[in-house]
Subunit: 298 residues, 2 copies
Protein backbone atom coordinates (compact mmCIF):
# COMPACT_ATOMS: atom_id res chain seq x y z
CA UNK A 1 0.00 0.00 0.00
CA UNK A 2 1.30 3.39 -1.00
CA UNK A 3 0.70 6.96 -0.04
CA UNK A 4 -1.11 8.83 -2.81
CA UNK A 5 -1.28 12.55 -3.54
CA UNK A 6 -4.01 13.98 -5.77
CA UNK A 7 -3.04 17.39 -7.18
CA UNK A 8 -6.16 19.23 -8.33
CA UNK A 9 -9.43 18.10 -6.79
CA UNK A 10 -12.04 19.02 -9.39
CA UNK A 11 -14.44 16.68 -11.20
CA UNK A 12 -11.94 13.88 -11.90
CA UNK A 13 -9.55 14.49 -8.97
CA UNK A 14 -12.42 14.28 -6.50
CA UNK A 15 -13.75 11.17 -8.24
CA UNK A 16 -10.35 9.51 -7.73
CA UNK A 17 -10.36 10.60 -4.08
CA UNK A 18 -13.80 9.04 -3.63
CA UNK A 19 -12.85 5.76 -5.28
CA UNK A 20 -9.43 5.47 -3.59
CA UNK A 21 -10.94 5.98 -0.17
CA UNK A 22 -13.97 3.76 -0.84
CA UNK A 23 -11.79 0.87 -1.98
CA UNK A 24 -9.03 1.67 0.57
CA UNK A 25 -6.39 1.70 -2.16
CA UNK A 26 -4.00 4.11 -0.35
CA UNK A 27 -2.17 3.89 2.97
CA UNK A 28 -2.50 7.64 3.27
CA UNK A 29 -4.35 9.91 0.85
CA UNK A 30 -3.32 13.56 0.40
CA UNK A 31 -5.14 16.25 -1.55
CA UNK A 32 -3.62 19.45 -2.89
CA UNK A 33 -6.03 22.01 -4.29
CA UNK A 34 -5.13 25.61 -5.02
CA UNK A 35 -8.65 27.01 -5.34
CA UNK A 36 -10.00 28.24 -1.99
CA UNK A 37 -13.56 27.78 -3.24
CA UNK A 38 -12.88 24.14 -4.06
CA UNK A 39 -11.28 23.59 -0.63
CA UNK A 40 -14.46 24.86 1.02
CA UNK A 41 -16.48 22.48 -1.18
CA UNK A 42 -14.20 19.50 -0.41
CA UNK A 43 -14.57 20.10 3.34
CA UNK A 44 -18.32 20.45 3.03
CA UNK A 45 -18.48 17.22 1.02
CA UNK A 46 -16.43 15.54 3.77
CA UNK A 47 -14.21 13.78 1.24
CA UNK A 48 -11.62 11.53 2.88
CA UNK A 49 -7.97 12.46 2.47
CA UNK A 50 -5.84 15.06 4.18
CA UNK A 51 -5.78 18.45 2.49
CA UNK A 52 -2.18 19.70 2.39
CA UNK A 53 -1.40 23.42 2.37
CA UNK A 54 1.64 23.21 0.10
CA UNK A 55 2.72 20.90 -2.71
CA UNK A 56 5.88 20.20 -0.72
CA UNK A 57 3.87 18.77 2.22
CA UNK A 58 2.08 16.37 -0.09
CA UNK A 59 5.02 15.37 -2.24
CA UNK A 60 7.56 14.46 0.48
CA UNK A 61 5.22 11.83 1.88
CA UNK A 62 3.82 10.31 -1.33
CA UNK A 63 4.72 7.33 -3.51
CA UNK A 64 2.16 7.97 -6.24
CA UNK A 65 1.37 11.52 -7.36
CA UNK A 66 -1.55 12.10 -9.73
CA UNK A 67 -1.96 15.43 -11.50
CA UNK A 68 -5.63 16.19 -12.15
CA UNK A 69 -5.15 19.87 -13.11
CA UNK A 70 -5.37 21.54 -16.52
CA UNK A 71 -2.27 20.63 -18.56
CA UNK A 72 -1.10 24.25 -18.66
CA UNK A 73 -0.29 23.95 -14.95
CA UNK A 74 2.12 21.01 -15.25
CA UNK A 75 5.21 23.18 -15.81
CA UNK A 76 4.59 25.30 -12.71
CA UNK A 77 3.83 22.26 -10.58
CA UNK A 78 7.03 20.48 -11.70
CA UNK A 79 9.13 23.50 -10.74
CA UNK A 80 7.55 23.46 -7.27
CA UNK A 81 7.88 19.73 -6.58
CA UNK A 82 11.28 19.01 -8.18
CA UNK A 83 13.27 19.72 -5.02
CA UNK A 84 11.04 17.73 -2.68
CA UNK A 85 9.98 14.65 -4.54
CA UNK A 86 11.41 11.23 -3.51
CA UNK A 87 13.35 9.50 -6.31
CA UNK A 88 11.28 6.34 -5.95
CA UNK A 89 7.97 8.18 -6.37
CA UNK A 90 5.90 7.74 -9.50
CA UNK A 91 4.05 10.61 -11.10
CA UNK A 92 1.14 10.31 -13.48
CA UNK A 93 -1.45 12.68 -14.92
CA UNK A 94 -4.86 12.39 -16.54
CA UNK A 95 -4.44 14.97 -19.33
CA UNK A 96 -6.23 14.49 -22.64
CA UNK A 97 -3.28 15.07 -24.98
CA UNK A 98 0.19 13.63 -24.53
CA UNK A 99 2.92 14.71 -26.99
CA UNK A 100 3.25 18.31 -25.80
CA UNK A 101 2.95 17.49 -22.10
CA UNK A 102 5.59 14.75 -22.42
CA UNK A 103 7.95 17.40 -23.83
CA UNK A 104 7.33 19.60 -20.78
CA UNK A 105 7.97 16.65 -18.47
CA UNK A 106 11.21 15.67 -20.24
CA UNK A 107 12.45 19.24 -20.20
CA UNK A 108 11.64 20.23 -16.62
CA UNK A 109 11.24 17.14 -14.41
CA UNK A 110 14.24 15.95 -12.39
CA UNK A 111 16.04 13.12 -14.21
CA UNK A 112 15.76 10.50 -11.47
CA UNK A 113 11.96 10.67 -11.15
CA UNK A 114 9.49 8.65 -13.25
CA UNK A 115 6.35 10.08 -14.83
CA UNK A 116 4.14 7.71 -16.81
CA UNK A 117 1.15 9.38 -18.43
CA UNK A 118 -2.46 8.16 -18.09
CA UNK A 119 -5.67 9.21 -19.83
CA UNK A 120 -8.92 7.89 -18.41
CA UNK A 121 -11.67 8.31 -21.06
CA UNK A 122 -14.37 9.79 -18.91
CA UNK A 123 -15.66 13.16 -17.74
CA UNK A 124 -18.67 15.39 -18.04
CA UNK A 125 -19.72 18.87 -19.09
CA UNK A 126 -19.89 19.92 -15.43
CA UNK A 127 -16.83 20.87 -13.35
CA UNK A 128 -15.88 20.92 -9.68
CA UNK A 129 -15.56 18.43 -6.79
CA UNK A 130 -19.30 18.48 -6.08
CA UNK A 131 -19.96 16.66 -9.36
CA UNK A 132 -17.40 13.89 -8.84
CA UNK A 133 -18.49 10.31 -8.14
CA UNK A 134 -16.70 7.10 -7.24
CA UNK A 135 -18.10 5.32 -10.32
CA UNK A 136 -16.54 7.84 -12.74
CA UNK A 137 -13.91 5.40 -14.05
CA UNK A 138 -15.94 2.19 -13.81
CA UNK A 139 -15.60 0.12 -17.01
CA UNK A 140 -14.11 3.11 -18.82
CA UNK A 141 -10.93 2.89 -20.85
CA UNK A 142 -7.75 4.28 -19.35
CA UNK A 143 -4.88 4.76 -21.80
CA UNK A 144 -1.36 4.31 -20.41
CA UNK A 145 1.41 5.87 -22.47
CA UNK A 146 4.22 3.44 -23.18
CA UNK A 147 7.28 4.14 -25.27
CA UNK A 148 10.80 2.73 -25.53
CA UNK A 149 12.04 4.34 -22.33
CA UNK A 150 9.05 3.52 -20.09
CA UNK A 151 10.03 1.78 -16.83
CA UNK A 152 8.13 -1.50 -16.87
CA UNK A 153 7.98 -1.97 -13.11
CA UNK A 154 6.31 1.42 -12.68
CA UNK A 155 4.07 0.76 -15.70
CA UNK A 156 2.83 -2.49 -14.16
CA UNK A 157 2.17 -0.74 -10.88
CA UNK A 158 0.20 2.03 -12.62
CA UNK A 159 -1.70 -0.53 -14.65
CA UNK A 160 -2.83 -2.37 -11.52
CA UNK A 161 -3.72 0.97 -9.87
CA UNK A 162 -6.13 1.89 -12.68
CA UNK A 163 -7.63 -1.59 -12.63
CA UNK A 164 -8.33 -1.20 -8.93
CA UNK A 165 -10.00 2.12 -9.77
CA UNK A 166 -12.30 0.16 -12.09
CA UNK A 167 -10.88 1.09 -15.50
CA UNK A 168 -10.07 -1.12 -18.44
CA UNK A 169 -6.47 -0.32 -19.43
CA UNK A 170 -4.70 -0.23 -22.77
CA UNK A 171 -1.16 0.88 -23.64
CA UNK A 172 -0.04 2.93 -26.63
CA UNK A 173 2.51 5.55 -27.63
CA UNK A 174 1.79 9.25 -27.18
CA UNK A 175 1.82 9.66 -30.99
CA UNK A 176 -0.90 7.06 -31.50
CA UNK A 177 -2.86 8.43 -28.54
CA UNK A 178 -2.87 11.99 -29.85
CA UNK A 179 -3.93 10.88 -33.33
CA UNK A 180 -6.83 8.74 -32.08
CA UNK A 181 -8.21 11.32 -29.68
CA UNK A 182 -7.89 14.16 -32.17
CA UNK A 183 -10.71 12.38 -34.04
CA UNK A 184 -12.78 10.71 -31.32
CA UNK A 185 -12.72 13.55 -28.80
CA UNK A 186 -10.90 16.78 -29.72
CA UNK A 187 -12.59 17.32 -33.10
CA UNK A 188 -16.10 16.51 -31.75
CA UNK A 189 -15.64 19.08 -28.97
CA UNK A 190 -14.32 21.71 -31.34
CA UNK A 191 -17.21 21.04 -33.74
CA UNK A 192 -19.73 21.33 -30.90
CA UNK A 193 -18.27 24.65 -29.74
CA UNK A 194 -18.25 25.84 -33.34
CA UNK A 195 -21.84 24.82 -33.99
CA UNK A 196 -23.15 26.57 -30.89
CA UNK A 197 -21.10 29.66 -31.80
CA UNK A 198 -22.61 29.59 -35.31
CA UNK A 199 -26.12 29.39 -33.84
CA UNK A 200 -25.35 32.38 -31.64
CA UNK A 201 -24.07 34.38 -34.62
CA UNK A 202 -27.22 33.51 -36.57
CA UNK A 203 -29.47 34.46 -33.64
CA UNK A 204 -27.79 37.84 -33.26
CA UNK A 205 -28.06 38.59 -36.98
CA UNK A 206 -31.61 37.37 -37.56
CA UNK A 207 -32.97 38.39 -34.15
CA UNK A 208 -34.84 35.08 -33.96
CA UNK A 209 -35.18 33.29 -30.65
CA UNK A 210 -33.57 30.03 -31.69
CA UNK A 211 -32.76 28.39 -28.41
CA UNK A 212 -36.30 27.43 -27.54
CA UNK A 213 -36.37 25.27 -30.67
CA UNK A 214 -33.05 23.57 -29.88
CA UNK A 215 -34.59 20.16 -29.14
CA UNK A 216 -34.31 19.30 -32.85
CA UNK A 217 -30.55 18.70 -32.58
CA UNK A 218 -28.67 21.73 -31.24
CA UNK A 219 -29.19 20.86 -27.57
CA UNK A 220 -27.02 17.71 -27.77
CA UNK A 221 -24.11 19.77 -29.06
CA UNK A 222 -24.68 22.40 -26.39
CA UNK A 223 -23.93 19.84 -23.68
CA UNK A 224 -20.47 19.14 -25.10
CA UNK A 225 -19.91 22.85 -25.70
CA UNK A 226 -20.48 23.53 -21.99
CA UNK A 227 -17.28 21.70 -20.99
CA UNK A 228 -14.46 23.37 -19.06
CA UNK A 229 -12.81 26.05 -21.22
CA UNK A 230 -9.31 25.98 -19.66
CA UNK A 231 -9.04 22.23 -20.10
CA UNK A 232 -10.17 22.45 -23.72
CA UNK A 233 -7.97 25.42 -24.62
CA UNK A 234 -5.00 23.39 -23.36
CA UNK A 235 -6.01 20.33 -25.41
CA UNK A 236 -6.61 22.29 -28.63
CA UNK A 237 -3.29 24.15 -28.26
CA UNK A 238 -1.25 21.07 -27.28
CA UNK A 239 -2.64 18.76 -29.96
CA UNK A 240 -2.93 21.46 -32.62
CA UNK A 241 -1.13 19.52 -35.35
CA UNK A 242 -3.44 16.50 -35.20
CA UNK A 243 -6.52 18.67 -34.58
CA UNK A 244 -5.69 20.73 -37.66
CA UNK A 245 -5.44 17.57 -39.75
CA UNK A 246 -8.78 16.40 -38.34
CA UNK A 247 -10.39 19.76 -39.17
CA UNK A 248 -9.09 19.45 -42.73
CA UNK A 249 -10.62 15.97 -43.21
CA UNK A 250 -13.87 17.30 -41.75
CA UNK A 251 -13.94 20.38 -44.03
CA UNK A 252 -13.25 18.29 -47.14
CA UNK A 253 -16.17 16.02 -46.29
CA UNK A 254 -18.43 18.96 -45.49
CA UNK A 255 -17.70 20.54 -48.87
CA UNK A 256 -18.60 17.25 -50.54
CA UNK A 257 -21.85 17.10 -48.50
CA UNK A 258 -22.70 20.65 -49.58
CA UNK A 259 -22.13 19.77 -53.24
CA UNK A 260 -24.35 16.68 -52.96
CA UNK A 261 -27.14 18.69 -51.38
CA UNK A 262 -27.06 21.42 -54.00
CA UNK A 263 -26.84 18.96 -56.88
CA UNK A 264 -29.55 16.80 -55.21
CA UNK A 265 -27.23 13.82 -55.71
CA UNK A 266 -29.50 11.12 -54.35
CA UNK A 267 -27.14 8.15 -54.55
CA UNK A 268 -24.18 9.88 -53.01
CA UNK A 269 -26.13 11.42 -50.13
CA UNK A 270 -27.95 8.19 -49.23
CA UNK A 271 -24.58 6.42 -49.12
CA UNK A 272 -23.30 9.05 -46.68
CA UNK A 273 -26.43 8.95 -44.51
CA UNK A 274 -26.59 5.16 -44.23
CA UNK A 275 -22.96 4.21 -43.67
CA UNK A 276 -22.73 6.36 -40.53
CA UNK A 277 -25.43 4.20 -38.90
CA UNK A 278 -23.01 1.32 -38.65
CA UNK A 279 -20.82 3.37 -36.34
CA UNK A 280 -23.72 3.88 -33.93
CA UNK A 281 -24.48 0.15 -33.77
CA UNK A 282 -20.79 -0.56 -33.18
CA UNK A 283 -20.62 2.00 -30.37
CA UNK A 284 -23.66 0.51 -28.66
CA UNK A 285 -22.35 -3.05 -29.20
CA UNK A 286 -19.02 -2.07 -27.62
CA UNK A 287 -20.98 -0.67 -24.65
CA UNK A 288 -19.55 2.79 -25.23
CA UNK A 289 -23.08 4.22 -25.02
CA UNK A 290 -26.55 3.34 -23.77
CA UNK A 291 -28.83 1.77 -26.39
CA UNK A 292 -31.86 3.65 -25.11
CA UNK A 293 -33.31 6.00 -27.75
CA UNK A 294 -32.45 9.64 -27.05
CA UNK A 295 -29.97 8.48 -24.35
CA UNK A 296 -33.01 7.51 -22.26
CA UNK A 297 -33.41 11.24 -21.66
CA UNK A 298 -37.20 11.33 -21.81
CA UNK B 1 -65.30 15.13 -32.81
CA UNK B 2 -63.85 14.36 -36.19
CA UNK B 3 -62.66 11.35 -38.09
CA UNK B 4 -58.87 11.33 -38.38
CA UNK B 5 -56.62 9.56 -40.88
CA UNK B 6 -52.93 9.03 -40.17
CA UNK B 7 -50.93 8.40 -43.34
CA UNK B 8 -47.62 6.71 -42.48
CA UNK B 9 -47.48 4.91 -39.17
CA UNK B 10 -43.80 5.00 -38.22
CA UNK B 11 -42.23 6.57 -35.14
CA UNK B 12 -44.30 9.78 -35.13
CA UNK B 13 -47.41 8.48 -36.89
CA UNK B 14 -47.76 5.65 -34.37
CA UNK B 15 -47.15 8.11 -31.51
CA UNK B 16 -50.06 10.21 -32.79
CA UNK B 17 -52.22 7.09 -33.06
CA UNK B 18 -51.39 6.19 -29.45
CA UNK B 19 -52.14 9.67 -28.13
CA UNK B 20 -55.32 10.19 -30.19
CA UNK B 21 -56.77 6.89 -29.01
CA UNK B 22 -55.61 7.34 -25.39
CA UNK B 23 -57.24 10.78 -25.16
CA UNK B 24 -60.19 9.79 -27.36
CA UNK B 25 -59.63 12.77 -29.65
CA UNK B 26 -61.14 11.18 -32.78
CA UNK B 27 -64.61 9.87 -33.55
CA UNK B 28 -63.03 7.30 -35.82
CA UNK B 29 -59.30 6.79 -36.32
CA UNK B 30 -57.94 5.40 -39.60
CA UNK B 31 -54.37 4.34 -40.37
CA UNK B 32 -52.83 4.03 -43.81
CA UNK B 33 -49.40 2.40 -43.97
CA UNK B 34 -47.78 1.17 -47.18
CA UNK B 35 -45.05 -0.97 -45.60
CA UNK B 36 -46.21 -4.55 -45.05
CA UNK B 37 -43.60 -5.00 -42.33
CA UNK B 38 -44.98 -1.99 -40.44
CA UNK B 39 -48.56 -3.29 -40.79
CA UNK B 40 -47.48 -6.56 -39.16
CA UNK B 41 -45.86 -4.56 -36.35
CA UNK B 42 -48.93 -2.33 -35.88
CA UNK B 43 -51.19 -5.37 -35.56
CA UNK B 44 -48.81 -7.02 -33.13
CA UNK B 45 -48.67 -3.81 -31.07
CA UNK B 46 -52.48 -3.80 -31.05
CA UNK B 47 -52.62 -0.08 -31.79
CA UNK B 48 -56.18 1.27 -31.93
CA UNK B 49 -57.42 2.62 -35.22
CA UNK B 50 -58.67 0.85 -38.32
CA UNK B 51 -55.99 0.01 -40.90
CA UNK B 52 -57.31 0.94 -44.35
CA UNK B 53 -56.10 -0.89 -47.45
CA UNK B 54 -56.18 2.10 -49.79
CA UNK B 55 -55.71 5.83 -49.35
CA UNK B 56 -59.15 6.28 -50.90
CA UNK B 57 -60.81 4.25 -48.11
CA UNK B 58 -59.25 6.45 -45.47
CA UNK B 59 -59.69 9.78 -47.19
CA UNK B 60 -63.40 9.58 -48.07
CA UNK B 61 -64.32 9.17 -44.41
CA UNK B 62 -61.91 11.61 -42.76
CA UNK B 63 -62.14 15.25 -41.66
CA UNK B 64 -58.51 15.60 -40.59
CA UNK B 65 -55.72 13.93 -42.58
CA UNK B 66 -52.20 13.90 -41.16
CA UNK B 67 -49.24 12.96 -43.34
CA UNK B 68 -46.47 11.35 -41.29
CA UNK B 69 -44.46 10.06 -44.26
CA UNK B 70 -41.13 11.28 -45.66
CA UNK B 71 -41.70 14.56 -47.53
CA UNK B 72 -40.69 13.01 -50.86
CA UNK B 73 -43.95 11.02 -50.78
CA UNK B 74 -46.30 14.02 -50.54
CA UNK B 75 -46.61 14.46 -54.31
CA UNK B 76 -47.57 10.84 -54.93
CA UNK B 77 -50.05 10.86 -52.05
CA UNK B 78 -51.71 14.07 -53.29
CA UNK B 79 -52.21 12.56 -56.74
CA UNK B 80 -53.89 9.53 -55.14
CA UNK B 81 -56.20 11.42 -52.75
CA UNK B 82 -57.15 14.41 -54.91
CA UNK B 83 -60.20 12.74 -56.44
CA UNK B 84 -61.58 11.34 -53.20
CA UNK B 85 -61.01 13.95 -50.54
CA UNK B 86 -64.01 15.87 -49.16
CA UNK B 87 -63.78 19.66 -49.73
CA UNK B 88 -64.29 20.36 -46.03
CA UNK B 89 -61.43 18.11 -44.96
CA UNK B 90 -58.25 19.59 -43.54
CA UNK B 91 -54.85 18.16 -44.37
CA UNK B 92 -51.71 18.68 -42.34
CA UNK B 93 -48.24 17.12 -42.26
CA UNK B 94 -45.38 16.90 -39.81
CA UNK B 95 -42.47 17.46 -42.21
CA UNK B 96 -39.32 19.22 -41.01
CA UNK B 97 -38.96 21.75 -43.83
CA UNK B 98 -41.75 23.81 -45.29
CA UNK B 99 -40.98 26.04 -48.30
CA UNK B 100 -40.45 23.25 -50.85
CA UNK B 101 -43.31 21.09 -49.61
CA UNK B 102 -45.67 24.07 -49.66
CA UNK B 103 -44.79 24.51 -53.37
CA UNK B 104 -45.69 20.87 -54.04
CA UNK B 105 -48.99 21.32 -52.20
CA UNK B 106 -49.87 24.53 -54.08
CA UNK B 107 -49.02 22.96 -57.41
CA UNK B 108 -50.73 19.58 -57.06
CA UNK B 109 -53.47 19.72 -54.40
CA UNK B 110 -57.04 20.37 -55.50
CA UNK B 111 -57.91 24.06 -55.09
CA UNK B 112 -60.90 23.62 -52.77
CA UNK B 113 -59.03 21.64 -50.11
CA UNK B 114 -57.06 23.16 -47.23
CA UNK B 115 -53.61 22.01 -46.12
CA UNK B 116 -52.03 23.79 -43.16
CA UNK B 117 -48.53 22.59 -42.33
CA UNK B 118 -47.38 21.50 -38.86
CA UNK B 119 -43.97 20.65 -37.48
CA UNK B 120 -43.82 19.04 -34.04
CA UNK B 121 -40.24 19.40 -32.67
CA UNK B 122 -39.72 15.88 -31.47
CA UNK B 123 -38.41 12.54 -32.65
CA UNK B 124 -35.57 10.14 -32.05
CA UNK B 125 -32.75 8.32 -33.80
CA UNK B 126 -34.85 5.16 -33.91
CA UNK B 127 -37.58 4.53 -36.49
CA UNK B 128 -40.70 2.39 -36.77
CA UNK B 129 -44.05 2.04 -34.95
CA UNK B 130 -42.54 -0.12 -32.18
CA UNK B 131 -40.62 2.92 -30.88
CA UNK B 132 -43.58 5.32 -30.81
CA UNK B 133 -45.08 6.47 -27.50
CA UNK B 134 -48.08 8.52 -26.49
CA UNK B 135 -45.89 11.05 -24.66
CA UNK B 136 -43.86 11.89 -27.79
CA UNK B 137 -45.39 15.37 -28.20
CA UNK B 138 -45.88 16.22 -24.52
CA UNK B 139 -44.65 19.75 -23.76
CA UNK B 140 -42.82 19.86 -27.10
CA UNK B 141 -43.16 22.78 -29.48
CA UNK B 142 -45.34 22.33 -32.55
CA UNK B 143 -44.89 24.96 -35.26
CA UNK B 144 -47.98 25.83 -37.31
CA UNK B 145 -47.30 27.51 -40.64
CA UNK B 146 -49.33 30.65 -41.09
CA UNK B 147 -49.16 33.00 -44.06
CA UNK B 148 -51.46 35.56 -45.65
CA UNK B 149 -53.73 32.98 -47.23
CA UNK B 150 -54.12 30.64 -44.25
CA UNK B 151 -57.74 29.88 -43.39
CA UNK B 152 -58.14 31.01 -39.78
CA UNK B 153 -60.98 28.66 -38.90
CA UNK B 154 -58.94 25.66 -39.94
CA UNK B 155 -55.84 27.10 -38.24
CA UNK B 156 -57.70 27.43 -34.95
CA UNK B 157 -58.96 23.89 -35.25
CA UNK B 158 -55.44 22.56 -35.94
CA UNK B 159 -54.06 24.61 -33.06
CA UNK B 160 -56.53 23.08 -30.62
CA UNK B 161 -55.81 19.62 -32.04
CA UNK B 162 -52.06 19.91 -31.27
CA UNK B 163 -52.83 21.28 -27.82
CA UNK B 164 -54.98 18.23 -27.12
CA UNK B 165 -52.02 16.10 -28.26
CA UNK B 166 -49.97 17.84 -25.55
CA UNK B 167 -47.84 20.21 -27.65
CA UNK B 168 -47.12 23.88 -27.10
CA UNK B 169 -47.97 25.65 -30.34
CA UNK B 170 -46.46 28.65 -32.11
CA UNK B 171 -47.24 30.13 -35.52
CA UNK B 172 -44.81 31.44 -38.11
CA UNK B 173 -44.30 31.69 -41.87
CA UNK B 174 -42.63 28.89 -43.81
CA UNK B 175 -39.71 31.24 -44.58
CA UNK B 176 -39.01 31.93 -40.91
CA UNK B 177 -39.50 28.25 -40.06
CA UNK B 178 -37.00 27.03 -42.63
CA UNK B 179 -34.41 29.60 -41.56
CA UNK B 180 -34.67 28.76 -37.86
CA UNK B 181 -34.55 24.99 -38.32
CA UNK B 182 -31.68 25.15 -40.79
CA UNK B 183 -29.58 26.23 -37.79
CA UNK B 184 -31.18 24.46 -34.80
CA UNK B 185 -31.79 21.11 -36.45
CA UNK B 186 -30.70 20.63 -40.08
CA UNK B 187 -27.11 21.87 -39.68
CA UNK B 188 -26.55 19.89 -36.42
CA UNK B 189 -27.70 16.69 -38.13
CA UNK B 190 -25.53 17.34 -41.18
CA UNK B 191 -22.54 18.09 -38.95
CA UNK B 192 -23.11 14.91 -36.96
CA UNK B 193 -23.29 12.80 -40.13
CA UNK B 194 -20.18 14.55 -41.41
CA UNK B 195 -18.22 14.02 -38.21
CA UNK B 196 -19.00 10.32 -38.06
CA UNK B 197 -18.09 10.01 -41.77
CA UNK B 198 -14.77 11.77 -41.06
CA UNK B 199 -14.02 9.37 -38.20
CA UNK B 200 -14.73 6.43 -40.52
CA UNK B 201 -12.39 7.86 -43.17
CA UNK B 202 -9.67 8.31 -40.55
CA UNK B 203 -10.17 4.80 -39.21
CA UNK B 204 -9.84 3.27 -42.67
CA UNK B 205 -6.69 5.25 -43.46
CA UNK B 206 -4.91 4.81 -40.13
CA UNK B 207 -6.19 1.30 -39.40
CA UNK B 208 -6.78 2.30 -35.79
CA UNK B 209 -9.78 0.94 -33.93
CA UNK B 210 -11.32 4.28 -32.99
CA UNK B 211 -14.83 3.38 -32.04
CA UNK B 212 -14.00 1.81 -28.71
CA UNK B 213 -12.63 5.19 -27.59
CA UNK B 214 -15.71 7.08 -28.74
CA UNK B 215 -16.92 7.92 -25.22
CA UNK B 216 -14.78 11.08 -25.31
CA UNK B 217 -17.24 12.88 -27.57
CA UNK B 218 -17.90 11.01 -30.82
CA UNK B 219 -20.65 8.79 -29.39
CA UNK B 220 -23.05 11.73 -28.84
CA UNK B 221 -22.78 12.65 -32.51
CA UNK B 222 -23.26 9.03 -33.54
CA UNK B 223 -26.73 9.05 -31.98
CA UNK B 224 -27.86 11.92 -34.20
CA UNK B 225 -26.11 10.38 -37.21
CA UNK B 226 -28.18 7.22 -36.79
CA UNK B 227 -31.43 9.02 -37.72
CA UNK B 228 -33.62 7.96 -40.65
CA UNK B 229 -31.77 8.55 -43.92
CA UNK B 230 -34.79 9.07 -46.22
CA UNK B 231 -36.26 11.70 -43.91
CA UNK B 232 -32.94 13.54 -43.70
CA UNK B 233 -32.19 13.36 -47.42
CA UNK B 234 -35.58 14.98 -48.04
CA UNK B 235 -34.87 17.73 -45.48
CA UNK B 236 -31.37 18.51 -46.79
CA UNK B 237 -32.61 18.63 -50.40
CA UNK B 238 -35.76 20.65 -49.65
CA UNK B 239 -34.10 23.23 -47.42
CA UNK B 240 -30.83 23.32 -49.38
CA UNK B 241 -30.68 27.11 -49.71
CA UNK B 242 -30.85 27.77 -45.98
CA UNK B 243 -28.71 24.73 -45.14
CA UNK B 244 -26.02 25.98 -47.54
CA UNK B 245 -26.05 29.37 -45.82
CA UNK B 246 -25.77 27.63 -42.44
CA UNK B 247 -22.84 25.51 -43.67
CA UNK B 248 -21.10 28.68 -44.85
CA UNK B 249 -21.45 30.40 -41.44
CA UNK B 250 -20.18 27.21 -39.81
CA UNK B 251 -17.16 26.92 -42.16
CA UNK B 252 -16.21 30.56 -41.62
CA UNK B 253 -16.23 30.04 -37.85
CA UNK B 254 -14.32 26.78 -38.13
CA UNK B 255 -11.58 28.47 -40.14
CA UNK B 256 -11.33 31.15 -37.48
CA UNK B 257 -11.11 28.44 -34.78
CA UNK B 258 -8.32 26.71 -36.71
CA UNK B 259 -6.37 29.96 -36.98
CA UNK B 260 -6.73 30.63 -33.23
CA UNK B 261 -5.50 27.14 -32.38
CA UNK B 262 -2.47 27.35 -34.64
CA UNK B 263 -1.57 30.86 -33.47
CA UNK B 264 -2.27 29.82 -29.84
CA UNK B 265 -4.46 32.93 -29.55
CA UNK B 266 -5.41 32.60 -25.90
CA UNK B 267 -7.82 35.51 -25.61
CA UNK B 268 -9.77 34.75 -28.75
CA UNK B 269 -10.14 31.03 -28.01
CA UNK B 270 -11.22 31.53 -24.39
CA UNK B 271 -13.87 33.96 -25.61
CA UNK B 272 -15.18 31.31 -28.02
CA UNK B 273 -15.11 28.53 -25.41
CA UNK B 274 -16.87 30.50 -22.67
CA UNK B 275 -19.63 32.26 -24.57
CA UNK B 276 -21.08 28.97 -25.81
CA UNK B 277 -21.77 27.95 -22.19
CA UNK B 278 -24.51 30.54 -21.96
CA UNK B 279 -26.45 28.72 -24.65
CA UNK B 280 -26.40 25.52 -22.60
CA UNK B 281 -27.76 27.27 -19.49
CA UNK B 282 -30.46 28.91 -21.58
CA UNK B 283 -31.46 25.55 -23.10
CA UNK B 284 -31.73 23.96 -19.66
CA UNK B 285 -33.58 26.99 -18.26
CA UNK B 286 -36.09 26.80 -21.13
CA UNK B 287 -36.57 23.10 -20.28
CA UNK B 288 -35.41 22.06 -23.74
CA UNK B 289 -33.04 19.54 -22.14
CA UNK B 290 -32.45 17.71 -18.88
CA UNK B 291 -30.03 19.44 -16.49
CA UNK B 292 -28.50 16.14 -15.42
CA UNK B 293 -24.79 15.90 -16.32
CA UNK B 294 -24.17 13.67 -19.34
CA UNK B 295 -27.97 13.59 -19.99
CA UNK B 296 -28.24 11.42 -16.86
CA UNK B 297 -26.86 8.63 -19.03
CA UNK B 298 -24.68 7.04 -16.33
Amino acid sequence: MKNILIIGCGLLGSSLVRKISKKKIAKKLYIYEKSKLNIVKIKKLKLSGRIVKSLKDGVVNSDLIILCTPMSEYKGIISKINKHIKPKSLITDIGSSKIESSKIIKKFLRNDVYWIQSHPITGSEVSGPEHGKDSMFEDKWCILIKDKKTNLKHLNFLNSFWKKIGSKTVMMTSEKHDKIFSITSHLPHLIAYNLVKSAQDFEKKQKYDLIKYSAGGLRDFSRIAASNEIMWRDIFFDNRKNVTKAINIFMKNLNSFKKDINAKNNRSILKKLTQTKRVRSKIVKLKQDTNKPDFGRN
